[in-house]
Amino acid sequence: MFDILGEILETMKRNKMRTFLTGFAVAWGIFMLIVLLGAGQGLQNGVRSNFEGRAINSVTLFPGWTSMPYRGYRADRAIRFDERTVDFVRTNIPEVVNLSAWIMYRPQSIAYGKEYGSWNIEACTPDLFYLDFMVIVKGRFLNEADMRAKRKVIVLGKQAEETLFKGEESLGKYVEADGIAYQVVGVYDRPQSQSFSSSLYIPLTTGNQLYNRGWGIRGIEFTVNGIDSEEQADMLTERIRALMGPYLGFDPKDTSAMYVRNSAKMAAETQKIFGYINMFLWVIGFACVMAGIVGVGNIMLVTVKERTREIGIRKALGATPWSIVRMVIIEAIFITTVAGYIGIIFGLGLTELISRGLSAAGGGGGGNTPAMFQDPTVGLGIVFAVLGLLVTCGVVAGLIPSLRATRIRPIEAMRAD
């Protein structure tokens, strides 16, 4: 076996141009495949990261106004969520993982000493932390104890902290909003999100007590488990309506009474689009690889013709048909594998380079540039699958010309001067 390889390597070394041309076709094909797949992955990652830094499988319920009469209630009635509604949702929908409810207030003037600014105050439950992908820079987020005691505590956004405190330590200090003093317990940031991180958070219970203007809770958001398809997402929405309607007193078919935003459905839809984009890129990439393979086959065919005389001589000296087939096939496999490997290295190198360049330019500490393209890398599994494909194709590319080579008759081959 070693000897066979040695003989073939020798032959390839002495025919450098031929070997190079053959290899180049394959390396180029595989390179393009990886770059294309990387681009697809990059696009996907980029758009994913633009999901406003929100949990992908989440459902949000917003109260509205009824438009149909229901069980004796008139139409045009305001639907209200309160803390009991929150508990009802938590206990009656088994898919719920993390759940948060909030009351959003209009922008408020908030002051610390002489410094002041205007931010939204949002009263929410502690679980919002898990739904909104925030990062605590300092201190902590709200907790259940804050909720129970209705503490006047506040979590600032990074910008708000900078504006108000100018580098001074903020934890434990009091800021003033609308005549009420709140103690700062933490500072958060949303590095993944391009949307505002301008809300300041206080406990839901505190907000309800201090600011209740009869609107109740403005939204309930929860993440759900086990929703993978659009159909499942739609079914969940239906089920929630059927459950909440009788409880809050509206017709489950009355969509204006309660708005349900199901991002699981949105996610499933985007997933489908990405499926198409990926398929498209695969088709193009595969066409590139096929072009490479056809190139190899073609060059091997020409080569065999060119080598008619050599093959004739080898046969006269006692080369069996099998040894000729073996020679051509192993050469084809060898070239496709090595060239494919080189293409893979370059392809991965380029995607890696782009990936680094992008994260250096955009991501970093807290840059807020929207990333349409992020981390364009290809999985190792795919790379190995492609390598396997290459080897298979190497065999096919070698088989046709080698079978042709076995039919070469030594006398005729050697006569060609």
Binding site: R14, E310, I313, L317, G318, A319, P321, I411
Partner: protein, 252 residues
């Protein structure tokens, strides 16, 4: 100069017979069954004893090369019988005939037929590759044979860096290296000048005498034929005459 032919190892063929070639009523037609069929060999009968040094002459188109190709198992025949060194050569598989060629036959051609991208040593070693001899050993043996033929200093030259005579000596070394029972040479001096032709024929004579390898040379040249022990004349596919040459002389 080239008198250093000592047997390196025993002859590789245990059942070597006294009769090297036995041909009975051999016929060959090119394009059999088609309108332009050409009956080239018309009932050839011939025997060649082991260790003979003989030549085949005849006009162009008389079928010399065809006969040599049949004898060398490079081509098949239609009817008759051909026994090479005790083996009946008749509808053999490609693999089997490749094996037979490798073990029993060495070829020398007018156009040398060296592989252009292999150097002299690698060309000489090639038959041993198909015989499963390890690389190291076959290269050593190739060097040995090249030295015997006075080409030790040119072992690493490519064919296009060698003169015609040198190329033919490389081809002879290659034919010799697998220690065949018979060497078939189709116009080995056809592309060479007289001085080089003489050199090549001297070497072949030497190989025949010292190694006892049967040598069959197809030639146009009277001088070559006069150097052999026996001359067969072919005319239109039949043997016209078959004469012993009592006093072979090498004079060019």
């Amino acid at each position: 100069m080239y008198c250093n032919f000592l047997l390196t190892g025993a002859s590789n063929d245990k059942n070597r017979t006294d009769i090297m070639i036995k041909i009975r009523g051999l016929n060959k037609t090119y394009n059999l069954g088609s309108p332009n069929a050409l009956h080239v060999l018309k009932g050839i009968d011939m025997n060649v004893a082991a260790g003979e040094f003989l030549s085949i002459m005849g006009a162009s188109g008389s079928g010399k090369s065809t006969l040599l190709n049949v004898i060398g198992i490079l081509d098949n025949y239609d009817t008759g019988e051909y026994i090479l060194d005790g083996t009946l050569v008749r509808s053999l598989s490609e693999t089997r005939s490749a094996e037979l060629r490798n073990r029993k036959v060495g070829f020398v051609f007018q156009s040398f037929n060296l592989i252009s991208f292999k150097n002299a040593m690698e060309n000489v070693a090639l038959p041993l590759y198909y015989n499963g001899v390890p690389r190291r050993k076959r290269n050593d043996l190739a060097m040995e044979y090249l030295e015997k033929l006075g080409l030790g200093s040119h072992a690493h030259h490519l064919p296009n860096e060698l003169s015609g005579g040198q190329k033919q000596r490389v081809a002879i070394a290659r034919a010799l290296i697998s220690r065949p029972s018979i060497i078939l040479a189709d116009e080995p001096t056809g592309a060479l000048d007289t001085a080089t032709s003489r050199e090549v024929i001297e070497i072949m004579r030497e190989v025949n005498r010292k190694e006892g390898i049967t040598m069959l040379i197809v030639t146009h040249e009277g001088a070559v034929a006069r150097a052999t022990d026996r001359v067969i004349y072919l005319r239109d596919g039949v043997i016209e005459s078959d004469k012993k040459n009592e006093k072979p002389v090498i004079e060019f």
